[in-house]
């Protein structure tokens, strides 16, 4: 028998909030790609020691909401050559591929950049089931990360039909079947019902939770409630990820509040909450203001809810969404090129270049509203850092957001460069709260792992995946977080001080729910009537996943 080969991360200052470790000096032992208990035999020597004394040690970062793979991401790459030539150039080396940046980096560049930032897991937030195979193919070219995706189903015809006919058992089986067929991770609702209306009417959309979706005669409220319940009963690790109706519209906070209420106590995650927290009336930008206090209050008192922020950063980026009518709206606001694509039976898509300006009242308010969310949700375990990459800005802005949260002087300095009305229409100036390193570790790794039901991630206890990021402390937290000293993925050093050392492809994380297979013939009958591809050619074969891991249901 060969001896176990250990790696030891020695004497780092460890932040492992899931295990109650808040800045204590510890050794971490790694074997077989996982964290293990320290060997009891004092004569055991590690094969490799990584000296972390004086350095900060955290679990690898987890981005639970970004757009990094699949049909719409790739369309955005094709559509925006102009920002790549002037952006950072990613040259190939003896162990890395070349690539391009801009707001939507190429696949390899995406993997390398996340890794160099200390992130080791990421979830694409919106994949149409018909494009699932495409997303998996891109994942296989996106190294250094464990990855999964959420499956668009808030405008799926079978979902709406089951609700219309009051067939909850069929709905539940369908969700299980669809997640298994796509090798996806979680149900995603994007403007539930609204995209279907967009497909059949000029500038069509729904305006509120109780508007009926024509042809199906169901409401967004029924879709939200129905899927949340079914997903809860299936025991999905991340039951439902919700992009609310009316994204970006003045006065939409009421829709968001209604969405939270529509869950009726079932677990649900409200994504890019920043874009859904606006006061003001009837599309009138002059009355635009923050309603985070009201919404955060509701979240604070309802433990079934979690949110990620969708922070806006000033600068140019690309908006990409499964929300077709939103894409149309934004393209009219900005007047630039516009991509829209409707996918049969399932979903929509909108893409357009956008720019956030600090002198614009609306944009500066969006920036402030994002920060309010971090600062007004009391329990850091229920608010997650995101930029909705690339919608609010790039994931590369995370170190800047960390500084904004940990340093109120810096935050106020930036606020003073913004449109002056922001201080009247949001509470940001008055918020004194500063995040601790422990709280940063929660909102960037421990929290998302818990919200996603990933037991092996987001912590450093025995049995966890050995995904570890080691930072050099610095007074300026942006500098500290933008270039980790060492990044370890599954026990292997993949980055040292920005240099890529190894490029493992990473695992695909997906679910394999137990569902009622008796419903499959009914799904097949529906499918064969209206889809343009064959039933047998729709499910994604396991061979597309390369390395993969099934995340078990919640017990």
């Amino acid at each position: 028998m060969t001896a176990i080969e250990y790696t030891k991360v020695s004497q780092g200052t460890v932040y492992d909030p899931a295990n109650g470790i808040d800045g204590q000096v510890r050794d971490l032992w790694i074997a077989g790609g996982r964290i293990v208990a320290a060997p009891t035999d004092p004569d055991v020597r590690p094969a490799r020691v990584i000296d972390a004394s004086g350095l900060v040690v955290m679990p690898g970062g987890i981005d639970m909401h970004c757009h990094i793979a699949g049909p719409k991401v790739n369309v955005a790459r094709k559509m925006r050559p102009e920002e790549k030539r002037k952006g950072e150039q990613i040259s190939g080396t003896s162990n890395t591929h070349s690539g391009t940046m801009g707001s939507v980096p190429s696949t390899f560049a995406t993997g390398y950049k996340y890794a160099a930032l200390g992130y080791t897991t990421a979830f694409d937030a919106a994949v149409p089931p018909l494009g699932a195979r495409h997303a998996h193919e891109e994942f296989d070219d996106t190294p250094c990360l464990d990855k999964g995706f959420y499956v668009l189903m808030g405008n799926n015809h079978y979902v709406m039909q089951s609700l219309q006919r009051n067939e909850p058992q069929k709905l539940k089986a369908f969700i299980g079947w669809l997640l298994a067929a796509t090798k996806g991770f979680a149900p995603k609702l994007v403007n539930p019902g609204g995209v279907e209306v967009w497909k059949s009417h000029q500038a069509g959309n729904v305006s509120g939770l109780d508007q009926s979706v024509d042809h199906f005669n169901v409401t967004p409220r029924q879709i939200i409630r129905g899927i949340a319940q079914a997903a809860g009963e299936l025991g999905l690790p991340h039951p439902v990820h919700i992009h609310c109706n009316n994204l970006g519209m003045p006065g939409n906070w009421e829709t968001t509040l209604e969405t939270m209420k529509a869950l009726e106590g079932f677990g649900g995650h409200i994504t890019h909450a920043q874009f859904h927290s606006y006061g003001g009336g009837d599309g009138d930008e002059n009355t635009f203001n923050s309603k985070v206090i009201q919404l955060a209050d509701y979240v604070n008192t309802h433990p079934n809810l979690t949110v990620d922020v969708g922070q806006v950063l000033f600068g140019e980026t690309t908006s990409m969404t499964g929300d077709g009518p939103l894409g149309y709206f934004l393209s009219k606001v900005y007047g630039g090129k516009w991509f829209s694509s409707d996918t049969e039976m399932e979903s929509g898509c909108g893409i357009t270049p956008i720019k956030y300006k600090n002198k614009s009242l609306v944009h500066a308010l969006q920036w402030a509203i994002g920060l309010e969310w971090y600062l007004l949700v009391e329990d850091p375990w229920r608010v997650v850092m995101s930029t909705d990459h690339p919608n609010g800005g790039s994931f590369l802005a995370y170190p800047q957001i960390i500084r904004l949260l940990m340093d109120r002087t810096y935050r106020r300095d930036i606020l003073q460069t913004c449109h002056p009305m922001v201080r009247e229409r949001s509470t940001l100036w008055d918020l004194d709260r500063e995040y601790s390193l422990n709280e940063i570790a929660i909102i960037t790794r421990a929290g998302p792992a818990r919200i996603l039901g990933l037991k092996d991630k987001g912590h450093l206890g025995p049995g966890a995946d050995a995904d570890i990021t080691i930072y050099t402390p610095h007074e300026n937290k942006e500098i500290m977080f933008e270039m980790p000293r060492v990044v370890i993925k599954s026990g292997q050093v993949i980055v040292e001080q920005g240099e890529i050392r190894h490029t493992p492809i990473g695992k695909t994380l997906h679910v394999d729910p137990v569902y009622d297979h008796e419903v499959e013939p009914d799904i097949q009958q529906w499918f064969e009537k209206y889809y343009s591809i064959r039933w047998r050619n729709y499910p994604v074969d396991i061979s597309y996943l390369h390395e993969s891991s099934v995340v078990p249901p919640r017990v």
Binding site: N74, R85, G92, S94, T107, L130, Q202, E344, I533, S543
Partner: protein, 450 residues
């Protein structure tokens, strides 16, 4: 667990004399990528291809193993190992190596081809640059409002074909997607749709039209802008419109009225638009018109892509480099410039000094200067059969045919990815295997450890 999508549905060996049926096989002959073909195989021959069109039947039924060697070097049969070594040496010693083709290979092979180009700092280009490349450029200018083909079947009540001849190029286009299907919102199928053809000549397809508009050759741009003006309600000079487009203003006005009145319009366009005078400007006008129409109703546009996996090539090259075709890596990172890095140009300008062609035949269809230059430089070719290009190649690999002998993934013209279900094994390696073997050697020579 680890595996590869190229093997999702691998071909099994035929048992002599026995019939084998492959259900829901995918035809890769054209961009329709019909995935409902039932193949009957006997003794390594496809004897029936149920539901395939005339082109698909020819593709499947005429396929046979011709006993050709899998590798030729300088025209003489050689071992694969020698071929791989020689190919790797050619690619790594060029100062301006180019790789071209890819539109009749599965995505898995395309990905390896892009890797090779990355390691040798070469230029990669696909047949997109000579068909819908202008559409790709127009797309970068104005975007695109589009939809999957099932949406056309379920909702498209006004179908316009512009510079396209699907009856001959995509024979099942009408029946599977665009005209005949009884869709969710069009229960009577063809009766619920209005079909318009706009072209410079009356093609076979025009028979399917309710309305046929014959415009003057080389005047697509003017015709499209006439419609854009009418959409906005701008008054036009009838005489000028007729003189420029060859069609009466009242006819254009009638068409515009119908376009505004439909519920879900779709414009399919072909190379009659993209490869005639105006090229990307024509496509830009068409995409902009489609966008304009969304101020009145729902409208979508879609290029009728030709080769079975040309859409896959666009996707693979885009996700790996950020650009869809014509990508140069000589500075170590990808740069895009159609007209400079596109193959007809790198050849005609005499810049390329080594080439690899995959599933394409530039010696048969490129310009004289391009062909002359290609014949003068070391060339590696991968093709399923002997062609003018393979005859000119220093190293010529005969490869198995995708979709018939090998599995993998192809993207339909609407970017829907579909798996292949091969019928029988080939004595030849797949292009994926050949490219992987070449890549291994290239990496060794270049000191790549990835």
């Amino acid at each position: 667990m680890t595996s590869s999508s190229i093997d999702a549905y691998a071909a099994t060996a035929s048992i002599p004399g026995e019939l084998k049926v492959i259900q829901d096989a995918t035809c890769t002959f054209c961009g329709c990528v019909c995935d409902d073909i039932d193949l009957t195989v006997k003794d390594d021959h496809i004897i029936e291809a149920k539901r395939a069109c005339v082109l698909g039947k020819a593709w499947f039924l005429n396929h046979h193993n011709d006993g050709r060697a899998s590798c030729h070097i300088d025209g003489k049969p050689a071992s694969l190992e020698e071929g791989y070594d020689r190919a790797a040496r050619i690619l790594t010693s060029g100062r301006y190596p180019i790789v071209y083709g890819l539109s009749d290979s599965p995505c898995e092979a395309q990905r390896v081809a892009v890797s090779i180009v990355d390691w040798i700092k070469g230029t990669i280009d696909t047949t997109t640059s000579v068909c819908h490349g202008p559409s790709g450029m127009a797309f970068q200018g104005v975007g695109e409002v589009t939809c999957s083909l099932g949406e056309v079947a379920n909702r498209g009540d006004m179908i316009i074909f512009w510079g396209a001849n699907p009856a001959e190029s995509h024979p099942r286009h009408f029946t599977r997607y665009s005209l005949m299907p009884k869709g969710m919102f069009l229960p009577n199928g063809r009766k619920d749709r209005t079909c318009v053809f706009i072209d410079v000549r009356k093609t076979k397809s025009a028979k399917a039209a309710d309305i046929f508009l014959q415009i003057k050759p080389r005047k697509d741009f003017e015709a499209l802008w006439t419609l854009r003006a009418l959409a906005k309600g701008i008054e036009l000079d009838p005489e000028l419109v007729h003189r420029e487009t060859g069609v009466e203003l009242s006819v254009w006005q009638d068409l515009m009225d119908r376009m505004k009145a439909c519920k879900f319009g779709v414009i399919f366009f072909g190379m009659g638009l993209t490869m005639t005078r105006g090229k990307h400007a024509n496509t830009e006008a068409l995409l902009a018109l489609t966008r304009d129409m969304n101020a009145f109703t729902r409208f979508a546009a879609k290029p009728n892509r030709g080769h079975g996996n040309v859409s896959g090539a666009d996707n693979v090259v885009s996700w790996r480099t950020g650009y869809p075709f014509g990508v140069n890596h000589s500075r170590g990172y990808p740069r895009f410039n159609p007209g400079e890095y596109t193959t007809s140009d790198t050849l005609a300008n005499g810049e390329a000094d080594a080439a690899m062609t995959i599933a394409c035949d530039p010696m048969a269809n490129f310009s004289q200067p391009a062909r002359e230059h290609l014949a003068s430089i070391p060339l590696i070719s991968l093709d399923t059969k002997e062609t003018p290009t393979t005859r000119a190649a220093t190293v010529a690999f005969t490869v198995a045919t995708y979709g018939i002998n090998t599995g993998g993934t192809v993207y339909r013209m609407d970017d829907v990815p579909i798996p292949l279900r091969p019928a029988f094994q080939s004595p030849h390696p797949s292009d994926f295997e050949v490219l992987t073997a070449i890549e291994e050697r290239v990496k060794k020579i270049m000191g790549i450890t990835e």
